[in-house]
Subunit: 214 residues, 2 copies
């Protein structure tokens, strides 16, 4: 079948097909969509791809994607740099920023602990987080730093959160750092009937008392 | 939120987001996937896109995508050029070729009749199909030509099939052309209970008698 397509068309289908979440039918559809587009549109796509090859780096403070030494969030002096939300990747930063409610900063680990994939603490930005905390506490030892563990509610994410909690336990015991974990529970719009037992267990554990009206 | 991302990253997210079937979350995921790839992989994607900008054309006989005057299927002398399957687009050719069962050739209309979108017979490759039939009948007037109408089972596709059936009715009445329409019915693996009434009606209309065993 593939021998019937011009090689340049098959090459682009293959290129799309290599991207995560794009199957062969979707790859064909995207390719034929671009074939119908003007040269201008295809060129725009090419230069967009070209754009990410240069000038991008990891923020030296938090590991988020950046154009300069520091990312836009770390550069923003209006954000509370003593409230640090620890996430696995830059996509998590985007998701949390969309809530519009968080005014602290982030620390992007670059993944989660996964011994089976050879990812231990040294493969993540954990030393950088320790150094960052030390620096903040040196700056002002009286004011505590808040650490919000927002790794994914997956096996690896939970393990990473537990590891970090234990790592910073001495600092927490000394009252220098407060550590919290984002709530696990039923997502909005979901159905209790279809929730898995672990999610329901977390939802029960995380229940909040409602104060009486009036 | 978007102001927080480097502009080159946002530009690529937007470029992916403009493609059909790719939402903003998927576009972010694809972009960050490519950010983690090597320069080699990104370059390979860029050159794949670059490849489709040149050297591609429509087959002058059937309208399928081609690298030369004729597409690979029209060039293939082992295919029966008196059996023509009429489809809306080149993706339909790929789908039919995947069955591995069809040994005829194709005619790619370039869409379906849709007056609301300003697509009439002149916007499709219908005159080319007429000229093609005339030429085949001139070559050998004794042997009839088979026309398989394989436009989509949608409103537009059905209208196009009806239009073509009426257009070639004189040739069919003269026994020069046999016109057929691909079967509409229940797809394999589907559930009768969930089928829509039109599909069920077509399935009933298209029923085949089963000869008695032995």
């Amino acid at each position: 079948m593939s021998a019937k397509l011009p090689s340049s068309v098959q090459t682009l289908i293959d290129a799309f097909n290599r991207l995560p979440g794009i199957g062969s039918k979707m790859a064909s559809r995207l390719t034929f969509h671009l074939l119908r587009q003007s040269d201008y549109d295809v060129n725009r796509f090419i230069s967009a791809l070209d754009g990410i090859r240069h000038g991008l780096r990891d923020c030296s403070r938090c590991g988020n994607i950046a154009e300069a030494e520091l990312c836009a969030i770390c550069q923003d002096s209006s954000r509370d740099n003593r409230q640090i939300c620890v996430v696995e990747g830059p996509l998590d930063v985007i998701a949390l920023e969309k809530t519009g409610a968080y005014q602290g900063v982030y620390h992007v680990l670059g993944g989660a602990l996964s011994p089976i994939d050879g990812i231990g603490p040294d493969q993540l930005r954990i030393r950088l987080l320790q150094a960052r905390l030390d620096e903040l506490l040196e700056e002002d030892g009286e004011k505590s730093v808040e650490l919000i563990l927002a790794t994914n509610p997956s096996l690896e994410g939970e393990a990473t959160a537990t590891y970090l909690q234990q790592l910073f336990d001495p600092l927490a015991a000394a009252g220098k750092v407060t550590v919290s974990r984002i709530a696990r529970g039923l997502p909005m719009g979901s159905d209790l009937e279809y929730a898995d037992p672990t999610t329901l267990l977390r939802a029960l554990e995380g229940r909040k008392s409602l104060p009486p009206n009036s």
